[in-house]
Symmetry: C2
């Protein structure tokens, strides 16, 4: 799909709003069966907690799931129409990064602009002052794959019935992957993107393709692809919040 980004969290609130004309930014020229579509990101506070530290996602040759899992609650679909749900991943910039020492003061969140090397720092400060640094221009873009939700296609009523979870989606750094996984470049930043596509029963529906889908990007889900965790705080938060990593927890404060 073309790179149209709807404004997440904006637009009509949850639930269909009868009589609404599909106008305003991102809605014009859309089929009436998709223009009212709304998506609410689940586990938003967890995503934000990761995002404050600078989310990292592991990529492996065999494919690794995301954590947190990308899941949304949908509303505003036509209950009796067929939809395909899918995800893709957009490079956030054309840079390559590395984890290392910096001048401090900026925190771990955004990457520091510019690419000059910082001076070495006393060892005792190394941990807290480490951050993501630009290491050059991006590597050649990986094959731009998409991941279809395995329940696709399905009726709007079915998609809205419960939370839609993309827990089968896996990330890989293997450019020759033939398992259908999403291929990403390690040490590059990405923005997950979610698409609702109306299955158009009309003949020549290709000619209406541009108006038959609606896309959602949630900034708090952006991440750095890595082959091994760099920020130790990210590791600790993953261990604390991912049930499959329970084996690495120390004391258990509260359920």
């Amino acid at each position: 799909p073309a790179a149209f980004l709807a404004t997440p969290g904006e637009g009509p609130p949850s639930g269909t709003v009868p009589g609404w004309a599909c106008e305003g930014p991102g809605a014009s020229g859309k089929n009436r069966r998709v223009c009212h579509a709304a998506a609410r990101l689940e586990m938003g506070s967890l995503w934000e907690e990761f995002n404050r530290l600078g989310t990292e996602m592991i990529v492996t040759k065999a494919g690794r799931r995301m954590f947190p899992t990308f899941q949304v609650k949908l509303s505003g679909l036509d209950p009796s129409a067929d939809y395909v749900l899918l995800m893709d991943f957009v490079p956030l910039d054309d840079k390559r990064y590395r984890w290392g020492w910096g001048w401090g003061g900026m925190g771990a969140r955004g990457p520091r602009p510019g690419g000059a090397e910082p001076p070495p720092r006393p060892r005792r400060y190394a941990f807290h002052s480490s951050s993501w640094l630009v290491a050059g221009r991006a590597d050649p873009a990986a094959p731009g794959r998409v991941h279809f939700h395995p329940d696709s296609p399905a009726k709007g009523a079915q998609w809205m019935r419960q939370i839609v979870s993309f827990d089968k989606l896996k990330l890989t750094n293997n450019l020759l992957d033939d398992n259908g996984h999403i291929i990403l470049n390690s040490m590059h930043r990405y923005q997950p993107r979610f698409h609702v596509v109306l299955v158009d029963p009309r003949r020549d529906s290709e000619r209406f393709a541009h108006e038959n889908f609606k896309s959602f990007s949630f900034p708090e889900t952006q991440f750095m692809a890595v082959t091994a965790y760099q920020n130790h705080r990210i590791t600790q938060l993953k261990i604390a919040s991912n049930p499959f990593a329970k084996g690495f927890r120390d004391g258990e404060p509260e359920p």
Copy 2:
């Protein structure tokens, strides 16, 4: 669906046979997109091995999977048409059974006709001479539920691509079950039945419902529903062939 039983293993062999007229027993009056459908039972030799001993399937309150799992290889579908696949279970008679001593000579397979009590036997013969005896008329029939294959609906091409497995299907004896499981009466005999239903895009498609499906019954998959295994040979064969029961195996002769 109505109780039409196709002859399993008969009809056109694997693969679509272009130009075939849909005639002969079980094919007349059927839509041309279903009349060529053929289903081959997978793991046939395992099913037959169980059937020779008298297959038993456990039913529990929470729901129990079948073993062997009912799986088929489909052919003869229209690759571009939509189909729904489903299963139901037909009582094989209107009798209730119990496991106990018999006169011997008949083997463990079929239930003994008549209901008179056999005389007691020496203890050392009890095991080999036990068999299923009629214990009276059937209990009131359980709610007649069906199990839709979770991938339904899907294109004929998708269904024919690989083996279709009903491993999510569960059997229960709880008449008030609200998990959508198949409800069966314990100590009653059943015949699993498999249905291929064409999704008819025509309006008023209900009026064509009788010609839009084709059904398959494989006699070697019939079984007795039980809450605990009665025939010790069945228990041993389950343990020997079900990977999840590996913990109960003694010596491992061969892979």
